[in-house]
Amino acid sequence: MQELTRLDEQLSLGSPWRVVVWDDPVNLMTYVTWVFTSYFGMTTARAEHLMMQVHTEGRAIVATGVRETMERHVEAMHGYGLLATLQRDDS
């Protein structure tokens, strides 16, 4: 069963979910960039791009995939103090 779950995750056949990070007035821009590089392993350029998107557009999608994995990411983001939510990617 665990193996099936893992396979499902690899193939991303589960309904895709996304992690949205929302703008907030307190978190430093440099901190948000660091969280993205540190936790997701993004390049600095990608992290800065997404941080700017959060800052200027109010939100950015930082990850997509199966629900369980995305819930882990949201839990981690809350640990870092970022405002993050899960959304079903049905657009």
Binding site: T30, S38, V74, G81
Partner: protein, 175 residues
């Protein structure tokens, strides 16, 4: 911009805190630590709502509650452990004996951080800033009035921001 942080050749990041700075940080850390004991009341407390926010949009309250039931205590505990680690760093300066000065007061406490320590401090400082900002109502004020005088608590909030910004710059190379 470093507001006192420096990186040695050994890769460790250090800063000396004055007694006043130590007592401010200790007080913030212990206050937030106590607040985080009340995870179950997260919906009734602004600081807890901010530190343990909803994971789903309002339309999916059930999912948000289920997520919180599984994760809120764990997230809160992680925050508490980091706050306690920061408080401990400020008490025992990295295992080295506090220099005893007989003729003048101690110059302060030197904190020396490795990568893990730096990470713990960044997250803990961030939680302190979020909690303080929430109590001050930052973000709920009318921006058209310009920056409001937030008094001494606002000064502490600004100082925490500089401290965190400097640690990101010196410790993580993010500026």
């Amino acid at each position: 911009m470093s507001v006192g942080w420096s990186k040695g050749e050994n890769g460790l990041v250090a800063r000396t805190f004055t007694r006043d700075e130590v007592s401010v940080l200790e007080s913030l850390a212990s206050g937030l630590d106590e607040t985080l004991d009340f995870v179950d009341r997260r919906n009734d407390d602004d600081v807890l709502s901010r530190l343990l926010p909803h994971a789903y949009d309002d339309a999916e309250d059930d999912a948000a509650e289920e997520f919180a039931a599984h994760t809120a205590a764990r997230i809160a505990e992680g925050k508490q452990l980091r706050l306690r680690a920061v408080a401990a760093d400020l008490q025992t300066p990295s295992g080295e004996a506090v220099p005893r000065h007989r003729t003048r007061p101690s110059p302060g406490i030197e904190v020396v951080l490795d990568d893990d320590g730096t990470q713990r401090w960044l997250l803990a400082l961030n939680d302190m800033r979020l909690g303080l900002a929430e109590r001050l109502g930052v973000g709920r004020e009318d921006d058209e009035d310009g920056p409001r005088d937030r008094g001494p608590v606002g000064d502490v909030l600004d100082w925490l921001g500089w401290l965190q910004s400097g640690l990101l710059d010196v410790g993580m190379g993010v500026r």
